[in-house]
Structures are given as structure tokens and as C-alpha cells.
Symmetry: C2
């Protein structure tokens, strides 16, 4: 792992938005689903997944069978995680409010859940039960009445839907599940088919075809942000345990080759010790090929003169995950401007947040923490402004409104007020 | 204005996303600004606006001169509107929170303003001072330290920047203003030039070139939603004043030819009276050509059997603006699922909200109220999750975290926990 002064480093990753062929293929799939509905979904399942689908919807019996296939230890861990995730997201919930003014007017904001949300869950090896919880529970906490899941009928040597995914869905309260994946699943959620009613929003990760399809249907429905390559930055001083730091860097690096794992430290000793630990631990990892490439291409140990300089480096990188393993980690919290999730102290290892603590693991990637937030309950709520103007308020403010409308050349706006002032003023006078 | 049963109506407007030529032109402009910075901005000002720019930044003297050019009545109205807008948006403000758990862990959410926001303001006749307030004040309330405005140096027969725009900016607390417009202004805000530091988010309306440029730079920076054609729906019963309803429909119709103005009513008498009033009032409007085309193409009076049916029609249309002018308007509020702003009763005419009451006039258009919200303070805040796990909590939850990580095949995640359990458990034991 390279060691270098922070001032000489910049993280440059070119993100791929799909080839023209992939884009065209996705457009064709979407159009065909809009035109042929369920028939197109069955055709693509045969074509892409090699599966002949009878029933698109997963049955209650299949969900019960999935429970029989998962370990007790998995179910226990999943349920405790779900409790924590639910409790944390409940703190984010917001309520409608109305304010009565002295003149009898009422202004407010109605806050309501989206009606129907579609959750995409990848199949095969990239099927993560934790992602099912992280995407479904905030929607459930928001009060979304219809949460529906789509997932491929089979992938790469796996027959049927991964039982851990079905169990995670059931634990998160998702009962409407369809065996359909890829761009065709996104199209079905956006436009609806005979079997799958259209949703208002689509969330969840997927491969490049899923990502391109989500971008394409955005506008007809809402989508979550499309995840880019992810990062961990560890800001540490000489009190940090090098083995912990190295393990945490590698837990991010194993995700994929474009992931970036960066240590920022004023301690030369820690820098050297982490460098050695990364090499040592890397050799033992099952996913060492992925992790090694990530560390080589996008990993770095950045030396700084002080933790204050380190904070500046962190804010420039705006990492998805930030660990602060220093003597007084809370002292730095208010100075961190840009980070998706901030892990404080030696025991707050990134996987604690990925799986269990409660905050969401869907986080802004690739520097977008400058302006984006973790997935949260607000993402499943919508607001409407409420305006009730009293007659008294309109008579008082009418001339000001007319003045502003006339200055913008919008005469019909002015007249909508004038017609009322004239009639109501006459009646009053 | 056509009168028809609601069941036979659907609103179909094909939204234009720019010609290939426009898209290519925007790409070229963006690349040139990234490469040549200020020089490109000067070149395009000459080319598109016919203006030779000396200083890009508007001076304090120019802002003061603008104050001398606006009416006292305008300034009074603008200032009162700003007070109302600020007061309403302050109610939306949210604070960071942290929760101490019994095991010593701390979980929370840090909520912070974006650092720098760019506000695009169109030039010429489409320059709306009210839009400056509606876009800048929520950012200011959120605590954004740097709010910067860009606006074309001149447009269509107007020399220099509209003084009403400069005054509105100053009243909203915006002091950093650059005379640059079009796609080049968006590129400057997204990537920065020698004179204009890059922003984290770009908001504000613009022509097709501005909209295409915003779509293109999204990802490098955040953007607000791109406004589509807008709507008003009036849900009214026989107690409504036909002249008021007609005036409100026309105040939306005058915006542009693709705007849609729709009355939904169970009263045949009101339907007929409004139809006559629209014709009568339309003939008096300065912008009657625009309004007439909007009414003809996208306007309608929809008859329903009951207000309950009418509520269903409203929710299907998901209008940007909804007026409810019925006997007990508040009785319907909780049944409205989809609407950007809801105006209740006969005195809450749409222009009251466009200009003055306080809620934002930047609203979800073209049916996106199903999943989008009015521009609000949250749009200028970002959240970071905060996780401080105690040693006790990690020792308790470690095995569950390892179980979940192993089931997802993410071994390095499991090891980051194991290495701590081993060392800390040993020390404890």
C-alpha cells in the first residue's frame, strides 16, 4: 500500500455509465415491457435467466419454505439488526404541521408517505439480506402502504430466489415479491404490467443494466441515487491499533476493485505499521484478488502534519465511510463537513454500521457526501404546502401581491387578486 | 373551455428534452468552460449575449444603483414577502441529534448545510424577483454560508441585469453575483473557473440549454428538479364564485402554452358559469394568446358525481397547485395524497402562494407530486450518520455481525470484527 503526503494525492475514478450497446439494449427492454407487459417479463426471464416462469409472484408457501432453509443464528442476527434499524429510522420520522396566524390564516406542511415503493434486489452472489432491511425498513417506517420487491428468478448457478433474501424481505414486512430482475424489472415497476402495478419510486442496487434502466425511467417515477464506487477513509493518530485499521480498510477494499480505502494519519509509526498489517491480512482473505487490486489502484496511506490537516483532507475526499480513531474522537465531529457515515473510536468498525447498529448502509459514494445523505425516512415521504388565507389577510396583503405580479408581467396573477379585492372590499365597505 | 366527465379525461403532455443539436451544443460549452475557464465565459457572453464583459462579478455599486431604480411599492412588497418566506422556511429547519444508549453507545444524525449553492436566474422578461427569494431564502435558512447567483449580462433588448433581480438578491442576502448565463454559467458553477469557485448544488429555472446543462453536470454537483409544464387543479362545489375560479385558472394558464388549468366539480351550474367566465376574462388578458392556447390544449372542466370522486381525480392528476373551494375545505385535506401546494377556501388564490404567503413556489410539476416535494430547507442540508459503539456493545453484538457478514460472503467484514473480539475478549477474560 503506497504511503505518501496527503498533499500529493487525489482520488480519480472514472465512472462507467454503460456502453452505447448496453444503453440501447436497456431502451429496447423497457419499450417491450411497456408494450407487452407480463409476456415480456416471461420472455426475458427465459432469455436472460434461463428460467420458464409460471407464477410471477412469490407465494406465501415459498416464503415459509425459505424460513426452513436458513440457520437459526442467521435469523437471530437478522431480527436484532432489523430492530436496531427500525429504532434508528423511527427517530427520523417527521410529522405534518399547521400554524395558525393571528389574522386567522393557516400555513403548514402536510407530510405523507409515498403510496407504493419498489425495491430491487440483485440475485445470486450479490444478494445481500442486509440491503433488503436497509432499503425496506425506512420505507416501512415512513408508512409506505405498498412495498414491493423484485429479484431475479435465478442467477449464475443458483436455482430460485436466495432464501436469505426472502426471509429478510418477510422480516422487513415485504409480502409482495415478484421473480423478475434486470432492466425488465425496473420497467415493470415504473410503468406497471398486468401482474405488477406501477410504483412511485424504485430503490435498491443492481448491475449496470439495472442502473441504466433506473436512470431511464427517472421522471416517470422517482429513484434513489445510483451508487458509484465506494470509499472508506480512516483518520487515525498514534493511539490507533494498526491491526484494527488495516482490517477496516480491507473490509471496504473487498467490495470491489474500484473501492477506495485510505488512511490519513500524522503518525509515521502508524502509517508503517498499517502498511505491513494490510499486506499480512490481505494474504489471508478469500476475496484477496479484489481487495488487492482495490488497495493497489485506489488505496493510500496519506501522511499529514496534524489531525487538523487530516480533517481538511477528509472534507476534500467526502468519503462514504469515515472512521475517526484518535484520542478524543468526539472533538473532531463538528469539523467533519462531508461524510456519509462517521464511525467514532476503536470499536465502531465499519461492519458495525454495515449490518447492525441501525443507521443506513446506503450512503453517498464517490464524493457525493458533499451534497447527499444516507438513505433515510425522508426519501419515502413527500410534502405538500398548505395555505389557507383568511379574508382579512387577503384584504391586507392583496395590494402587495398585485404589485409583485405586475412587476413580473403576469397580469392574470394580479387580476385573480384584484377581482377578490374588488368584490370583498365592496361588500365590506 | 371543454366540459367533460372526469372519467374520460387524461392529461398527456410530451415533455421535450432537447434536440440532439442542443445537447451537443451544451456538451461543447461545458467542455470549453472546463478547459478555458473565465476566457470561455467571456467568449460565450460575446457570442450569445452580444456583450463584452469586463468584470464578471457584479459590484456593490451596481447593486446600490439597482435600489435607486426600483419603486418604493415594489421594495415594500418584496421585503414583506421575504419576511413571510423566511418565517415559513424556518419552521422546516432540522437539527442534528444524538442518542445515548444504555450500553454507552451513541447513535445520531449530524445535519449540516451545504457549503456553497449556485442560483441560476434567467435574464430578460423571464427574470422573476419572486423566484430569487424562493430559491435563495431556503438556502439561507439552512445556513448555507456561500450563496452565489448567476444571471445573463443582457437579454433580448434589455441592457445589463434587471435591477429588480439585483434588489431581490440583495434582500435575500445574496452578495456574490456573476454576470454569466446559459449552459456556460451552469458549467462554471459545477466545475469552477478562475473567478467563480465551484458550488455543491445548482438550483433555479432556465431555458432548455440551462436545463440540459444541469442534467449533464448532475453527479459532479447536485441539482434541483428540472421543472416540467405546470398545472393548477381547482376542486370546487356550488358555493364557489365562478369569477374567482376562472381568474385562478387563467393565472396558471398565462404562464406558458403547455400549462394546464383544470376545474373538477360536481356542480353543473358552476361548470357552465366558469366556462363563460374563462371566455370573458380571457379576452381582457395581455397574455391572452398564451393563456388561450394553454386552455384549449390542456385545460378542461371535469364533471364528477361527488367531491369524493373529485378527490380521486385530483390524486390521479397530482397537480402542482391545488385549490379546494368547497363548503368545508379542511375536511378534504387529509384525503389529498398528491399535490405540490394546497390552497384552501375562496381567499387562498394561487398568486397568494406564488408571491407572498411564505410557502415555496418551486413545486413538483407534471404529476411528480406523487413522489416529490416543494423546494424546502432539506434541499440545502445534508445528513451524516454518527456511530460510536462502546466496547461492551461490540462484545455483545460482535457474533451477530460476523454471522451476517459471513452469510453475504464478505469475509473481511467478519474479520474486522473478529480481530477486535479476540483481542478485547482476551483482555477482558
Amino acid at each position: 500500500m503506497r504511503v505518501m503526503p496527503a498533499s500529493e494525492f487525489s482520488l480519480q475514478r472514472e465512472v462507467e455509465y454503460g456502453t452505447p450497446e448496453q444503453n440501447e439494449s436497456v431502451q429496447r427492454i423497457i419499450e417491450e415491457v411497456r408494450r407487452d407487459g407480463d409476456a415480456a417479463l416471461r420472455k426475458f426471464a427465459q432469455q436472460f435467466d434461463g428460467v420458464k416462469i409460471e407464477e410471477l409472484r412469490v407465494t406465501q408457501e415459498e416464503i415459509e419454505a425459505a424460513y426452513a432453509q436458513v440457520d437459526e443464528s442467521f435469523l437471530t442476527a437478522l431480527r436484532e439488526a432489523a430492530v436496531n434499524i427500525r429504532r434508528f429510522h423511527e427517530k427520523q420520522m417527521r410529522n405534518s404541521w399547521m400554524d395558525l396566524q393571528a389574522d386567522g390564516s393557516i400555513l403548514g406542511q402536510a407530510i405523507r408517505p409515498l403510496r407504493r415503493v419498489g425495491l430491487y434486489v440483485p440475485g445470486g452472489k450479490a444478494a445481500y439480506p442486509s440491503s433488503v432491511l436497509m432499503n425496506a425498513i425506512p420505507a416501512q417506517v415512513a408508512g409506505v402502504p405498498e412495498i414491493v420487491m423484485v429479484t431475479p428468478p435465478a442467477t449464475a448457478g443458483l436455482e430460485g430466489i436466495n432464501p436469505h433474501i426472502l426471509v429478510a424481505a418477510a422480516e422487513a414486512g415485504v409480502r409482495e415479491i415478484y421473480r423478475v430482475g434486470g432492466a425488465q424489472a425496473v420497467a415493470a415497476l415504473a410503468y406497471g404490467t398486468e401482474s405488477i402495478p406501477a410504483a412511485d419510486k424504485i430503490v435498491g442496487p443492481g448491475n449496470i443494466y439495472v442502473a441504466l434502466a433506473k436512470r431511464s425511467v427517472f421522471g416517470a417515477v422517482d429513484i434513489d441515487s445510483i451508487a458509484g464506487p465506494s470509499e472508506i477513509v480512516v483518520l487515525a493518530d498514534e493511539t490507533a491499533d494498526a491491526a484494527y485499521v488495516a482490517a477496516d480498510l480491507l473490509s471496504q477494499a473487498e467490495h470491489d476493485e474500484m473501492a477506495s480505502a485510505i488512511l490519513v494519519t500524522p503518525s509515521r509509526e502508524l502509517a508503517e505499521a498499517v502498511r505491513l498489517e494490510v499486506d499480512r491480512q490481505l494474504s489471508e482473505l478469500p476475496r484477496r484478488d479484489i481487495a488487492a487490486q482495490s488497495i493497489r489502484d485506489y488505496g493510500a496511506i496519506l501522511t499529514v502534519d496534524s489531525l487538523t490537516e487530516g480533517v481538511g483532507v477528509v472534507n476534500r475526499l467526502a468519503p462514504e465511510h469515515l472512521e475517526i480513531i484518535v484520542r478524543e474522537p468526539f472533538d473532531y465531529l463538528s469539523r467533519i463537513e462531508n461524510a456519509g457515515a462517521i464511525f467514532l473510536g476503536p470499536y465502531s468498525s465499519e461492519p458495525v454500521g454495515d449490518y447492525f447498529a441501525g443507521p443506513n448502509h446506503v450512503l453517498p459514494t464517490n464524493g457525493t457526501a458533499r451534497f447527499s445523505s444516507p438513505l433515510n425516512v425522508d426519501d419515502f415521504l413527500k410534502k405538500s404546502s398548505v395555505i389557507y388565507y383568511s379574508k382579512e389577510a387577503l384584504l391586507r396583503d392583496g395590494e402587495n401581491i398585485i404589485t409583485l405580479a405586475r412587476h413580473e408581467g403576469l397580469d392574470a396573477h394580479a387580476r385573480a387578486i384584484e377581482i377578490r379585492l374588488k368584490k370583498e372590499g365592496d361588500q365590506r365597505g
